[in-house]
Symmetry: C2
């Protein structure tokens, strides 16, 4: 059985679609998609349209800029192709993709754009979209993920969201939400814009708030450069490099799973579940930013969560039949807590800050993964501090109970705000919406909780007697993997994000759910659906009944 | 062409499934669904399961209690059938319904439950769920719409959400959202509960917050009665009856549409759009609560919005091919504003309060209707005050422009908070999220705005010169109705609800969108899907790939 495995690792030297140039505090990230360098067969990436392969490079660039180039304050996203910025996700790719790939593709590109916004907000790396030509669909959505958008005024260039009128689908990468919730475009104008295939040019686009400004072709580059200088000068934060290098992950791949340095993914395909184990840090981790910098990407929290992130992406795209992931940890609680103390103490150091932000993004990726997660808390585990978030992110946590073999979990200050969910709350706050004083109590009263105390505190779901343990876990796994995977996806998306909503949760909840619905509808993907008919001589035929 | 037209009007004398008894301040609303009295063929409503016909009666009862029985402070929802409260939406009905009917059915039942919560919150009519037996699926969701839930402890009775494990769908009437967001049940417990077909009984159900308390069978009725007395005694508000009677709407039905006293619905089926016209009030409307009470349901704002509500429901269920509704008004602005002044001045009177709350619910029904809405503002129209909300609720507003024939719109204090959207904001606040000072300016600076001023103020989308008017409207209608209806539904659901999210928007946005997705999936509705297989000897067969 040969399967195409999608690889999520890359580096600037390997980029096929982007060019990354760094000039002191200003980076230029230029799109120049190679038509034939596609991830799959049967389509060409014309007009800077993109597939997942293009976005994997963009995600990598945004990630590397944070770790490898902390001196960069402004990133200008532009295109090398004349008169075209980006035509968005490739339509022929979408039309021939499975439903699951379409959905996972949109989720990943959304996460990349959220990571760009996270860098603007928390890393002092602000993104400017310099639209040197048409920005259409996903191209304009990418622009909206940037803090500022500038459009060339050449009589042709326009921004557009043509998905609804041309393709019968939604802008799938947060476009509608960013339009009205981030850029706060008036809803009736947004309605016109999102149904106008040709989009809007300079003057009207600015008047409606779709762009921040426009400049004639002759002055465009100079105006963007001037704006970048203004922004770098206005940035108070003075991060001093050098950065650290993000080396390729070392992973041993087999049919049984993936073995990283600190992460193991072991697949039980027959039973449709996987064990995902994070091994905790060794003793004697570095205690100062200088030592951490020296250790670089070998430092446990950076390496372990990079590996975890890769494993999650692998599970999403390459292991669709795995419905349940058992989250496990191995190691010593005191070692995990020691790392947390170091991270918490030195958060004002740029590298420590980036490491924490990266852990937070990885955990959000877990929250947003359409698999069930059970945390399995056994003797020898180290669900302590940041790794405790794995148990809090899980849909359920099972904890071993035996007076002769004590198991413990341990909160740390890292559970108190450093690792927010997409809804803006910590996982403890989300968990105890109905009993908020428990959050404080857990953070203040305990250093460690055994099974009884953890159960009493509400940190675990089930405390299971050691004699029943194996049976209980086995039955829970069997029951979970027997349920309709679609019902579980919708259920988990509803139960995981109680409480407030943010731009991110609106994108991943409301907008994505609607897009997923539309991606199932004959009007999009049927024989005469708009997505399938695109580029063909025949017009789409709609069933006009509204739902 | 014969079509089954669903009728949304009923009255207690006609109820087939509910019994409404009123004893001073306490009403009992008892479910006793007649198996054979279904809205459609091919299923039986066993075990107090329901179809739309059952819910139309429930919605009617909740509505009448507000207007006809203002003295009622507590409504006890229970069942007459022994050992069964309610088994939820009828599964055979769902399995044989079209996708559009399933979606519209869930939306309507959700709106009924939101109306129950609205009565608890704003009308001093608090709902208690007295679960004398099993409350399963939609039965438990109905209970969660009540302020308090009590369960009989007879060794059998349980609350349950068996949709995911048994049927491969979600609890479609707000259950998951109310579980974690209203009752704030811990997410891992909610996860277990929503995958446990048999549900949970008294003790565990109370411990997890699924119910408020439980009582043994022998003491159940007495305990509920005592709680009702406590609640009535604690209600400070002393509304004095008598109420007013809600008489049947007078409507003339033809193939061309529906003609009510103040509302006309005219269908252009060939072009897939409808004109929905609200005629404004006559001069000399009553100015005091006493006069309004005397006029009863003939009072313009009550009658006009009851008619509008009925027309919207008719459009949703009975006219699926109509994709666009042009909202029009006819009448004198001064008459509309005079009514608003009366409503605003006497809001502390129970009947005026109910009328305002009813207008607000009707407008929210419009916001949530999956049709495009264009407001058409022409000479002779009266988009003023509450009717101006029709233009603000519309996806676009087109306003006629001709210096020789002035058209005006007019804000009133009613646009300033009395008629909130589901997101908790006014339509003006939602419109001007990016420019909030405009809201105040509009409410304070103007009594009337002509086309130029309305355009300048941002109240309309397009000001169209009288010479181009007919063409512009015709082209706009043709363009709109040519777009994929599914893309429009997803787009409008995203653009209409910018800003904050509430329980209601989470239910109608996130949860409903996921449910609609699942209702399209082969794992639910395919030949071997769980919804289709229910009650058959064969087990469902799932495609286990997670999406």
């Amino acid at each position: 059985m040969v399967k195409e495995i999608i690889n999520f690792e890359t580096s600037p030297a390997e980029y096929r679609h982007w060019k990354l140039n760094i000039d002191d505090a200003v980076a230029r990230l230029e799109m120049n998609v190679r038509e034939d360098e596609t991830l799959g067969p049967g389509y060409k990436l014309k007009l800077n349209s993109y597939d997942l392969g293009v976005d994997i490079e963009l995600a990598d660039a945004a990630q590397r800029l944070r770790f490898e180039h902390p001196e960069v304050k402004v990133i200008i996203i532009s295109s090398i192709k004349p008169r075209i910025f980006c035509a968005g996700a490739n339509i022929y790719m979408l039309a021939r993709s499975s439903h699951a790939h379409k959905v996972n593709f949109c989720k990943y590109t959304n996460e990349t754009r959220c990571a760009i916004e996270d860098a603007s907000a928390h890393s002092g790396q602000r993104y400017i979209a310099a639209l040197n030509g048409a920005a259409s669909g996903g191209g304009y959505e990418l622009a909206m993920a940037c803090e500022e958008i500038y459009l060339v005024d050449d009589g042709y260039a326009a921004v557009a969201l043509p998905e609804a009128p041309l393709l019968g689908v939604l802008p799938g990468t947060g476009g509608l939400t960013r339009l009205v919730d981030k850029r706060k475009v008036r809803r009736d104008r947004a309605d016109i814009f999102a149904t106008l295939a040709e989009g809007l040019k300079s003057h009207r686009a600015k008047e409606w708030g779709l762009i921040d400004d426009y400049f004639p072709s002759s002055k465009f580059q100079a105006a963007i450069a001037a704006r970048a200088r203004e922004l770098t000068a206005a940035t108070l934060e003075q991060k001093t490099g050098p950065g650290i290098r993000l080396n390729p992950l070392q992973v041993e791949v087999s049919s049984a799973g993936r073995e990283y340095a600190y992460v193991s993914l072991r697949l039980n395909r027959e039973k449709r579940y996987a064990d995902l184990t994070v091994r905790g840090p060794e003793a004697n981790q570095p205690g100062t930013p200088e030592e951490i910098h020296k250790l670089g990407d070998g430092y446990w929290p950076l390496r372990a969560y990079r590996e975890l992130d890769d494993a999650l992406l692998h599970l999403r795209f390459n292991e669709p039949e795995i419905g349940l992931v058992c989250l496990r940890t191995e190691g010593l609680i005191e070692n995990a807590l020691a790392v947390d103390r170091t991270l918490a103490a030195h958060r004002d150091h740029w590298l420590v800050n980036e490491i924490i932000l990266h852990i937070a993004r990885t955990l959000r990726r877990l929250d947003l993964t359409a698999k069930s997660f059970f945390a399995i808390i056994e003797p020898g585990s180290c669900f302590a501090g940041a790794p405790l978030e794995l148990a809090l992110a899980a849909d359920r946590a099972y904890m071993f109970s035996d007076p002769r073999r004590k198991v413990e979990v341990a909160p740390s200050p890292m559970n108190g705000g450093a690792l927010p969910m997409s809804n803006g709350l910590t996982r403890l706050e989300s968990r105890f919406l109905g009993d908020p004083q428990k959050v404080d109590k857990i953070l203040k009263a305990w250093t460690r909780l055994d099974t009884e105390a953890a159960n009493e505190a509400g940190l675990i779901t089930v405390a299971s007697d050691s004699l029943d343990w194996d049976d209980e876990i086995r039955v829970a796994i069997e029951e979970r993997t027997s349920i309709s995977p679609d019902a579980l996806t919708g259920m988990e998306a509803s139960l995981r994000f109680a409480g407030p909503e943010t731009l991110d949760t609106k994108i991943f909840g409301r907008l994505s759910a609607w897009q997923n619905w539309i991606f199932q509808r004959p009007n999009a993907i049927g024989e005469h659906g708009a997505l399938i008919s695109y580029g063909k001589p025949s017009q789409p035929k709609f069933d006009y009944r509204r739902t």
